[in-house]
Symmetry: C2
Subunit: 335 residues, 2 copies
DNA sequence: TTGTACGCGTTATCAC
DNA sequence: GTGATAACGCGTACAA
């Protein structure tokens, strides 16, 4: 069943069928109705490959994600896919992992499939040393890139993110305001976003003339990310003689580990220990009391990624960088 | 840069270039080397649309998933995508939601994009009344379907699942063996898998000649699925005068809610309350003590989905149904 | 308003 | 082994 069959059965030329198909050009209402009827009757569906060949597009967006199993990223995945679908774009998924070589390969594969654009989820995709970002610049020469929660100034690269710096600064201030003195800062990732968050923590202390004690800033091993692992890490920190009355982390899952630590050593929240997480994910509701967490507006960010992409694809101009503000959601783990 | 350019620069015909490209037919080693060199030099990448048009395939698999944000499904998504990628297949994602109309639409959209096969994640995709499954039978006439954690006997539909019936039976038996008398069974979904699980619970009791008390079997509202919601549901159950010394659920997240309930009312695990979850997801590690959970071997299932799909696409025959056995992972929430 | 004819970049079937 | 050439199914100038 192709366009020729339809044109024959409808007694018109393929050009007319094509016009009806694409809604566009001028076709007499009568012919249109007739052709539509024939198409419906025959259950005709235009061949996407042939159409792609001609239009150089199959209305497909590449979604790159280091790890689709991650609670935060999978949430983003869900928002993005649904929003793109509303615009009749399908999403090609690529779970690349964090290694540069794999990310590059992921981008190239999607490039070879001629997606219309790509969304790169998380600041993992941007390397600190700019030489490593050649693959991004190269991709951006061929199609628009939208970066979720990352920043990279480059033509045809559009960034949508939350002000992580301000967010952790606000969280730190809140802890200080509620009487905490020794705030343990725990983080997993040294990428752009991770650095901004840490900088916010430092800045909050410095702004008040408080010392930044480096032994309260702890990078957790990247390969031990389960909640019990994190609990054990914190137990070890305590065992090493470091005292803290609050835990601020770069991810909810870390804070869940902190809550677990608190239970084990019988420290009550928020009296003996305050905890703040990041992302306001479903993990923050798992603990008792529930965790105060920084809501970085994932849904808003994702929707903005999609509308930015749509604008760019439509030839309109879009802001190179859009920054939203996070919001602290206060729950039982803080005063 | 297309096949003509390459053939011209290499001084051969496009047929030869095509042969080199597809590794197949007889080409003299010398010509092959030369053509490969030219292709590399020019950075030539064959056009996927044109290739798709000729081959009627773009090596793409459709992944349908009611909700990519779900902890369990996103894990599956990750496993599936990576395994397919190893076989050089890309994945087109469709988060359909649970409504039949939307699922049908998702299938049809992927059908129109001429994916080579589809994986349907979760038993949500199979309707109880078979009339609702016409969309599956229809799709199966055109391409192979692999169902993850669902069963539907139909030509060209391949099912990969865990024996949920036996799994909950085993879990129930374990609770009974460790001295529990009143096991509250909580579930969220009435789909195929949900029914099997419940049946396993009933069967375990019946096999021991114990009464199945319907007021210990509770269906939780589908739209209130957050941990605090579930905690409140359980509090309400208790308030209604129902006594229980164990909670068995169809999903880890429900059991996390149960653990939260236990904390609120100061019931200690496992002495005063035993809890078993399902899926052995990261949620089961969030609680203190950690939750005993039924591991339904998601990674194994996913890998099997992929190898089944590959076999079918290669024209080999594959088992219509493959059933794995779940395994109870014992942790602190049970004796 | 409608139709003709060509281009899109491959693969595949023939001949040679 | 290699080279013409016909599909593949659709979009679209251009002509009518």
């Amino acid at each position: 069943m192709n366009i020729y069959d339809i044109s024959e059965k409808a007694g018109v030329s393929i050009a007319t069928v094509s016009r009806v198909l694409n809604g566009s050009s001028r076709v007499s209402p009568k012919t249109r109705e007739h052709v539509l009827a024939v198409m419906a009757e025959q259950g005709y569906v235009p061949n996407a490959f042939a159409r792609g060949l001609g239009l150089k597009s199959m209305k497909t967006i590449g979604l790159l994600c280091p790890n689709a199993a991650d609670a935060y990223l999978s949430q983003a995945l869900n928002y993005l896919e649904r929003a793109f679908r509303v615009h009749e774009y399908d999403c090609l998924l690529s779970c690349t992992g964090k290694a540069l070589a794999d990310r590059r390969k992921g981008v190239e594969l999607l490039l070879s499939k001629h997606v219309d654009g790509m969304v790169l989820m998380g600041s993992t995709f941007v390397e600190d040393q700019d030489a490593g970002n050649e693959y991004l610049r190269n991709a951006a020469r061929k199609l628009p890139l939208v970066l979720l929660n990352a920043s990279y100034p480059c033509d045809n690269v559009f960034c949508v993110l939350c002000d992580d710096y301000r967010a952790t600064m606000e969280a730190t201030n809140y802890l200080l305001d509620t009487g905490c003195k020794d705030i343990l800062y725990l983080y997993h990732s040294r990428n752009y976003s991770g650095q901004k968050k840490l900088a916010g923590y430092r800045a909050a202390l410095e702004n008040r003339g408080l010392p930044v004690r480096e032994n309260l800033i702890r990078f957790l091993s990247e390969d031990k990310t389960s909640v019990p692992d994190i609990r054990d890490d914190i137990l070890a920190i305590e065992a090493s003689g470091i005292h803290f009355d609050a835990v601020l982390s770069s991810e909810d899952i870390i804070s869940v580990g902190a809550a677990k630590y608190a239970r084990v050593v019988h420290r009550r929240m928020p009296d003996s220990l305050s905890i703040i997480g990041y992302n306001n994910s479903s993990y923050s509701l798992c603990c008792e009391p529930e965790l105060t967490s920084m809501d970085n507006k994932l849904e808003t960010l994702c929707n903005h990624c999609v509308s930015t992409m749509m604008a760019v694809l439509a030839g309109q101009d879009a802001p190179q960088k859009t920054v939203f503000t996070a919001e602290l959601v206060k729950r039982g783990s803080t005063r």
